[in-house]
């Protein structure tokens, strides 16, 4: 298994508010669920690991890479899927959008075409390859977003509420793809506690502070208990 995710006293200030407040932790497990209420800091945690927001203070290491100073290495290491299917489509057609992720790798044309073909097949998008990406359904768009992340062969997949915009059926489809047995590490930010319980470990955030790390069922139960009002 790969190197762990380590945070040392990390705080992230966004404008006036402290989105993450002095978080330290070490994660070795393969599938990590991140839970907490809106504004708890769980999304900032995902963005921090994905190199999308720098720590204001403190330091971190993602699989041995420092996102602040080694952004190039981090990009090669990490794939990210976001909530909004519409905001993740970059190129006009499905195949072009999938291929876009390989743009920086300077592969020979044939090899990149082959990787696009395999990835589209994995996500059942082969028949849609030449369709306009924006004509797809929400679930298909999210599959395409996932495809665009997986095609880069990341060691770490970060999914920030990937099912938030989807119906039950598509949510399950996306979740099954993310949680299917593979050798990637997964950081899954989710409101869906049943998804959290399918992970190896759960991390709980409240008001920017880390309040729990441990067995998913136990952490999820603790989170539910804290919701009684």
């Amino acid at each position: 298994m790969t190197a762990p995710i380590i945070l040392n006293n990390v705080s992230v200030r966004l404008g006036e508010s402290l989105a993450l407040d002095d978080v330290s932790l070490r994660l070795d497990q393969q599938r990590i669920a991140v839970i907490g209420s809106n504004g708890s800091g769980k999304s900032t945690f995902a963005r921090l690991l994905g190199g999308l927001v720098p720590p204001t203070t403190g330091s971190l290491s993602v699989h041995g890479v420092d996102p602040v100073t080694q952004s190039k290495e981090l990009r090669r290491l990490v794939g990210v899927v976001f909530s909004n299917p519409d905001a993740q489509i970059i190129m006009p057609t499905v195949a072009e959008d999938a291929a876009f992720s390989l743009r920086g790798e300077k592969l020979p044309k044939a090899e990149s075409a082959e990787r696009v073909r395999i990835a589209l097949e994995e996500f059942g998008l082969t028949d849609l390859a030449d369709r306009a990406a924006h004509d797809l359904s929400g679930g298909q768009k999210q599959l395409l977003a996932l495809c665009g992340a997986v095609i880069r062969r990341p060691q770490l997949m970060i999914a920030d509420e990937p099912t938030a915009y989807l119906d039950a059926r598509n949510s399950r489809l996306i979740a099954n793809h993310l949680l299917a047995p593979n050798d990637r590490r997964l950081v899954l930010v989710t409101h869906d506690l049943t998804l959290a319980e399918r992970c190896d470990v759960a991390v709980l955030f409240e008001n920017g502070r880390l309040t729990g790390v441990g067995d998913p069922a136990e952490i999820a139960a603790r989170y539910e208990a804290s919701l009684q009002c």
Partner: protein, 198 residues
């Protein structure tokens, strides 16, 4: 996607986009420099008809194009006759109309994707001046994919307002529309970063 392209099969459609653009530019420039006389107005009209025939686009499409710019013709002519004699007024209007309509041949016969490629190739010599053609092509591609998304967001904003009984007005529409659009831009920026654009 909505474009001005009209599918066709003549040689002009198949001609490479770069040289085609250059050739049309020369013709448009030639027409634009004609003196303001009746004979030159007739010449401009003749060149236009010839261009639509030779390119295989045809006179029906020419008619459609002229109808499409009718307001430019009317307004230009109206102000010309106010200020100058009849001959230059008509000649100037004919010259301007001919230039616009001939230039339209480029987008009528060339796909957007081909024009984008030609543009990227055409910009390559400027790399030494710090221009990055691949990045420029990327911005254009992202803009093209974003137009339909924002159109949908705009419709959504209007519907939400109508549901709440907000009267249609520019300010009450633009502010929420800008907020959702700029949020979309931030999300898109994250997606671009996550997929390797620095």
């Amino acid at each position: 996607m909505l474009t001005l392209y009209r599918p066709g099969t003549s040689w002009f459609y198949r001609a490479p986009a770069g040289p085609k653009a250059f050739a049309l530019l020369l013709v448009v420039l030639g027409v634009s420099l004609l003196p303001s006389t009746y004979s030159c107005a007739a010449l401009a009209g003749g060149v236009t008809v010839l261009a639509y025939l030779v390119s295989g686009v045809g006179l029906v499409e020419l008619g459609r194009q002229v109808v499409g710019v009718r307001w430019i013709i009317v307004i230009t002519l109206a102000f010309q006759v106010l200020f100058v004699p009849m001959e230059p007024a008509i000649a100037n209007t004919a010259r301007v109309t001919a230039a616009i309509v001939i230039a339209a041949l480029l987008v009528l016969t060339t796909r957007v994707a081909d024009l984008l490629d030609a543009l990227e190739r055409g910009l390559r010599p400027f790399i030494r001046f710090g221009l990055d053609p691949a990045r420029i092509a990327l911005v254009l591609a992202v803009a093209i994919t974003t137009v339909p998304v924002l159109t949908r967001l705009a419709v959504g904003v209007r519907e939400a307002q109508r549901a709440r009984g907000v009267r249609a007005g520019l300010v009450s529409f633009v502010i929420p529309f800008l907020v959702v659009s700029l949020k979309h831009a931030d999300e898109l920026g994250d997606a671009l970063t996550a997929r390797g654009v620095n």
